[in-house]
């Protein structure tokens, strides 16, 4: 069953364009220039119930705008979307009881009160049965290891603890769809790992549909099998995570450990040397040439250890974004130079 469906979803904002300087500011009082920002352009995708999908892209790519559209905070300029059969921006209570949005940089909990007070409020707002409520609070606070902290004012919690409380508040009413916007932003490695472990376990157990945006590829790799990549408002890729590396990375990484301390000088003939710590070295080798290069290397040198790996996902995606940017600049440059 399809949980989330977006069809040519488009959001165009009109923003005030302010020129630099005081004079321009004064002029802005009388006449304002606006420009259109295409935050999301004809974005289409479908997410099945129980799927956990990563939504990736650089800052300003349109990820958060898409999540805002799906949670009904804003409505689109064009296109349509349904989540659990509801049109999000109609903001029916029956829809709002079935999803949660967690934004890593925004608070839903009451700042000056202990998290348990916010939980109580959610219990009433979402009409959670008291017995279910008790059980869920116990379960979630145990899973996220914050049981002892529910009585402490939220403002006194660390960022990691607060984020875990936010997740609990968002899950108390057992939503069917969970929209997560940068849930691990700013967290230390241990807190990140805890949140990841929890999400993986809980999503598997509850068959939650999750759409997750994150800048940490570690989150994505740990949690999602499928990724939708968005850049400048448009979808660039939608498919299995591993396909990204296959599709967009032209190179593999060959790591060698030589028997002798010195590294041969002619390694550059086989690929690009990018990490040299004698007697170990890393080479970037064209995918198609990997078997050939390996046999040549092994026959020519005394090698103690060898490994071939894909390049880190993060790197591949970063390169993808730079590549699209460059291609576009080039194109507009060409157009611009035509007399």
């Amino acid at each position: 069953m399809i949980a989330i469906e977006a069809d040519k979803l488009t959001k165009i904002y009109r923003v005030y364009r302010k020129r630099e300087g005081l004079f321009a500011s004064v002029a802005g009082l009388f006449h304002r220039e606006f420009k259109e920002v295409h935050a999301v352009q004809e974005v289409s995708f479908r997410i099945d119930q129980g799927e956990m999908v990563a939504f990736l892209g650089p800052n300003g790519a349109g990820k958060t705008t898409t999540l805002k559209l799906l949670s009904g905070l804003i409505f689109p300029t064009a296109g349509s979307a349904t989540v659990l059969g509801h049109i999000p921006w109609e903001r029916e209570d029956s829809y709002r009881r079935r999803f949660s949005l967690v934004m890593g940089q925004k608070n839903q909990l009451w700042w000056d009160l202990p998290a348990q007070e916010s939980f109580q409020l959610h219990k009433e707002i979402y009409r959670i049965d008291p017995a279910d409520f008790r059980r869920r609070v116990d379960e979630l606070t145990d899973l996220l290891q914050v049981r002892d902290l529910v009585g402490q004012p939220v403002r006194e919690l660390s960022l990691g603890e607060r984020m875990r409380m936010e997740l609990i508040a968002a899950l108390l009413h057992r939503p069917d769809v969970l929209l997560l916007d940068e849930p691990t932003i700013g967290l230390d490695v241990i807190s990140q790992r805890r949140v990841q472990d929890f999400l993986r376990y809980y999503q598997g157990q509850q068959k939650l549909t999750v759409l997750l945006t994150s800048h940490y590829m570690k989150d994505v790799e740990a949690l999602c099998k499928r990724a939708v990549i968005i850049n400048e408002g448009e979808i660039k890729h939608d498919g299995p995570l591993e396909e990204i590396v296959d599709r967009f990375s032209t190179h593999k990484v060959v790591e060698l450990q030589f028997a002798q301390a010195e590294i041969p000088a002619d390694l550059a003939d086989f690929g690009e040397v990018f990490d040299e710590k004698p007697p170990r070295v890393k080479l970037k080798v064209l995918r198609a040439q990997v078997p050939e290069v390996l046999s040549a290397l092994l026959s020519r040198y005394a090698i103690e250890d060898v490994s071939v790996s894909d390049r880190p996902l993060e790197e591949v995606i970063a390169e993808m974004f730079v590549a699209t940017k460059d291609a576009e600049t080039e194109m507009s440059g060409t157009v611009g130079s035509v007399p």
Binding site: F75, R97, F99, N107, E124, P153
Partner: protein, 274 residues
């Protein structure tokens, strides 16, 4: 229905707990708000020249005693109708995006604001009741004595009416922030108007013709002038019924306006903000 009542009760309870967190700040703010009352009593003393050889017997049909009684009763009205931080709070929620949590949860933002304010006021009364009683006790000589039962009843009804009208006007100003993110100047203008038109500064019947007639048709008089004048026995029973009905009418109109503006505001926010 019952579920909704429970939500409101828990919102009220949570807001009360939140208000009680910063006790010192709250107690101090309450204390500071009593200082102007004292200075105002001295000011009226100077205007009526009470300590001179030729004190004014009355100004615009108000004796010095009437004036002090009016002012103190108007302060009771204002204790119900003033809404410090309401509009700025709404504007901040919109500007900083905290309003999102109310838009994604199945909860009524205006209802939340209302119960939040009720909690705010309840805590204020707990702290302020002592100083109020003291001031009224010290100034008891200025009051003409208790009016009849129906008038006292009308006064007691006029106070929640003052609360509702004050709340609805200011929340409406807050909702304007859906269109203009910054509403502080607007709030300043409202404060100035409120100061004059509610009867906070001077009784509304002191205004020159025809202004004194016009201001009586506006809702602002219910914020301070009306409760005070009721308690001073300036209305007949028949007039009280008319006035309270008009106040109820204003509450309905303002509530409808709030609902309309919120619905439109959220649409605007959805189109341009977010």
């Amino acid at each position: 229905m019952l579920a909704r009542l429970r939500v409101n009760w828990v919102i009220l309870r949570t807001c009360l707990e939140e208000r009680l967190v910063y006790r010192a700040d709250f107690a101090f703010a309450t204390f500071v708000r009593f200082l102007p009352i004292v200075t105002q009593i001295f000011l009226w003393g100077a205007i009526f020249a009470v300590h001179s050889d030729h004190p004014h017997q009355s100004i615009n049909n108000y004796s010095y005693e009437d004036m002090i009684a009016y002012y103190l009763l108007a302060m009771i009205g204002r204790a119900f109708s003033s809404m410090p931080g309401l509009a700025t709070g709404v504007a901040r929620d919109v500007r900083e995006g905290t309003i999102k949590k109310f838009l994604i949860q199945p909860v009524d933002f205006l209802g939340y604001l209302f119960w939040h304010r009720v909690a705010h006021k309840l805590v204020y009364y707990i702290v302020a009741i002592g100083p109020f009683v003291l001031v009224f006790f010290l100034c008891r000589g200025y009051f003409p004595g208790w009016p009849d039962g129906p008038t006292v009843a009308a006064f007691l009804i006029s106070l929640p009416a003052a609360f509702l009208i004050g709340f609805l006007i200011e929340s409406m100003i807050g909702l304007i922030s859906f269109w203009f993110l910054e509403v502080s100047s607007l709030i300043f203008v409202y404060m100035m108007l409120n100061y004059f038109l509610s009867g906070h500064m001077i009784p509304l019947d002191w205004f020159p013709e025809p202004l004194n007639q016009i201001v009586l048709y506006l809702p602002f008089k219910y914020l301070a002038y009306f409760p005070a004048s009721v308690m001073l026995g300036r209305y007949s029973h028949a007039e009280l019924i008319v006035e309270l009905t008009a106040a109820a009418g204003w509450i309905v109109i303002l509530l409808a306006a709030n609902r309309f503006m919120f619905a439109r505001g959220v649409r605007h926010y959805g189109a341009f903000g977010g």
